[in-house]
């Protein structure tokens, strides 16, 4: 059926880029807000969730899991319903404000030392609000842009929304690094970490005023004027077999696989470099940042390409490539950072030791720092810390930590490998907004597309770091495998494999109309 949009062509073309810009900017800010909590998780835990207190540790786990997994789909349902009843524009303005206020408030909450248990409880509530807002934002922005777009260009137009999740992560890392590098470590630890949260308020105000001047989506306006909006989108989406079967198909045939590939490419790669390969913290952020920056444009490319060749082949190709190459790529990343594969410059080895005394307890702390240099420019730093309590004659067994700062050649190779992982992300994620929008009718679109998206990404994707870490730890404990560090990849490989088969067999081959 040929669709008709109830605004004249000139007006639509004139406002289209404004619509994309306003929607993308707001969604970008929401992702930024969501990521800075995760990126600053370690420092936040020391301020609000003291590890020696079991209740605070419980609240910390709840903040991590609940906001990432549980609350996002609920946000999708709550705001999706609102968006299908009162309109897309007003709903995603509310999500923007909720996210902005929650983020800004996190930056203002006094620490555990000042207000006690009220601090972790307030932060937990604010984190839950962030998850709720994110659950409502994405579906609104994607629907809004898609309903403005002309047929045949919907993949390209909505792909700008798709860049925001990656770009939001990049900006959050950049703002944190800039803040960190502009002050002393003590100042950042004391108050500087609050700045990235407070900066968000400025961005939210700007985005709010831009969005406020936008019109409601033309397709929604048309549906509303004709009395075709749904009175109960939740019941219609999930209570009617005809719609519910598509919700399930979207989840198992697309967003489930897309979610694990996205999390593997962006978050597990970061965690793998830092925790498994022990690459220097700052260098890891530079590697991920460079790969994200190089890859972001491909969201738009694959969105555009999906208008030409269809959404399904591109998304399934991304899944298949990921399934086939994840293990070789991650193995190569590991080998590039393994000092066992490098030639040590033995004569440059240095070792320093110093002993300091704790002014309060009188305990002694002996720190030994050993640096090994390698022919490719890599430097491995190992630190051994021993303590001796007052009255004891010997130091305790050393606690060893270490990290590697890779040479320029290995650094470039790592950026390239992470870029390939990001490329897979762009293949599955670039066309998905248009794909989901086209699957559901206007009257229940916001609700129906938001839920599978946030279950696929929030639950299947969000679970990835925990499951992958568990699988690696289990393999290392049993010590029966040659490469236990790759075991975590079975989770995304199996989930993406199931999603690939379901998608291949059950999804439509042709793009659909949004009417």
């Amino acid at each position: 059926m040929q669709e008709t949009i109830p605004v004249d062509e000139t007006t639509r073309k004139k406002t289209l880029w404004k619509v994309i810009g306003a929607s993308s900017l707001g969604t970008l800010i929401e992702w930024y807000d969501f990521y800075i909590f995760g990126s600053l998780a370690i420092i936040i835990s020391t301020k609000f969730f003291p590890p020696d207190n079991p209740t605070a540790a419980f609240l910390s786990t709840l903040a991590t899991f609940a906001a990432g997994f549980v609350v996002r789909p609920f946000g999708a349902l709550f705001f999706g319903r609102l968006g299908d009843i009162i309109g897309r524009k007003y709903t995603f303005m509310v999500t923007l404000l909720v996210m902005g206020l929650a983020t800004c408030a996190i930056g203002l909450v006094p620490g555990y030392e000042t207000i006690g248990f009220a601090a972790p409880i307030i932060v937990l509530v604010l984190r839950l609000l962030q998850g709720l807002a994110l659950g409502g934002e994405y579906g609104g922005a994607a629907t809004y842009v898609a309903e403005y777009s002309e047929p045949g260009k919907r993949g390209y137009r909505t792909s700008w929304i798709q860049t925001t999740a990656t770009f939001g992560l990049f900006i959050s890392l950049a703002v944190i690094m800039l803040t960190k590098n502009s002050m002393s470590a003590e100042a950042f630890d004391e108050w500087g970490w609050r700045l990235p949260f407070l900066i968000s308020s400025v961005m939210v105000v700007v985005s709010y005023f831009i969005r406020r001047n936008m019109d409601e989506s033309p397709l929604f306006k048309k549906a509303k004027s004709e009395g075709n909006t749904s009175a109960n989108p939740l019941r219609e989406s999930f209570g009617k077999k005809y719609n519910f079967k598509f919700v399930l198909l979207a989840l198992f045939g697309a967003t489930m696989g897309q979610g694990v590939i996205w999390y593997t490419g962006q978050f597990y790669a970061l965690s793998f470099l830092q925790n498994v390969c022990k690459v220097d913290f700052d260098q890891t952020n530079y590697i991920i940042g460079a790969a994200l920056l190089a890859g972001t444009g491909f969201f738009v490319f694959f969105g555009w390409l999906s208008d030409k060749v269809g959404r399904k082949p591109i998304m399934l190709a991304g899944m298949l490539l990921a399934i086939l190459t994840y293990r070789p790529i991650f193995d190569r990343i590991y080998q590039l950072t393994d000092t066992g594969n490098k030639t040590e410059l033995v004569d440059q080895y240095t070792s320093r030791q110093h002993v300091e005394m704790d002014g309060d307890t009188g305990d002694s702390l002996r720190v030994t720092t050993m640096e090994r240099f390698y022919a490719d420019g890599s430097v491995h730093t190992a630190v051994e810390t021993e303590t001796k309590a007052v009255g004891q004659s010997q130091f305790s067994a050393p606690i060893a930590t270490g990290h590697i700062h890779v040479g320029s050649g290995a650094f470039a190779s790592l950026v390239l490998l992470v870029f390939v992982l990001v490329l897979y992300v762009t293949m599955v994620y670039g066309p998905i907004a248009a794909f989901l929008v086209e699957m559901f009718p206007v009257r229940i679109r916001y609700t129906s597309m938001s839920l599978p998206y946030h279950i696929g990404n929030g639950i299947f994707g969000g679970l990835l770091p925990a499951v992958a870490t568990y699988l690696v730890a289990k393999a290392q404990f049993t010590n029966s495998l040659e490469k236990p560090y790759l075991e975590g990849l079975w989770y995304p490989i199996i989930i993406a494999g199931v999603s690939f088969v379901i998608g291949l067999l059950y999804l439509r081959n042709k793009n659909q109309n949004v009417q």
């Binding site: 786990t61 997994f69 079967k245 399930l248 198992f252 639950i459 199931v498 439509r508 081959n509």
Partner: protein, 74 residues
């Protein structure tokens, strides 16, 4: 193709049941019984969020596939 889609419905139902068994027996129950507070949240999530979504979702999806609900989709 429609026959394959329908037959595979049984596979999705079986996969849903197997995933549910794994989540409850291998993951949730050991974590509920560990006594550590940090295990409680994942155990609750496995039991009340993940298991219903994966098992319930895949079983319903498989049932619909078996009934031929997806025959006309592709």
């Amino acid at each position: 193709m429609n026959t394959i889609k329908r037959i595979l419905g049984v596979v999705w139902i079986a996969l849903g049941v197997a995933a549910g068994y794994y989540l409850i027996v291998s993951q949730a129950i050991p974590q509920f019984s560990s006594g550590r507070s940090e295990d409680l949240v994942p155990a609750i999530i496995y039991t009340f969020i993940l298991m219903p979504i994966i098992t319930g979702g895949l079983c319903i999806f498989g049932w619909y596939a078996l009934q031929g609900e997806y025959d006309e989709v592709a």
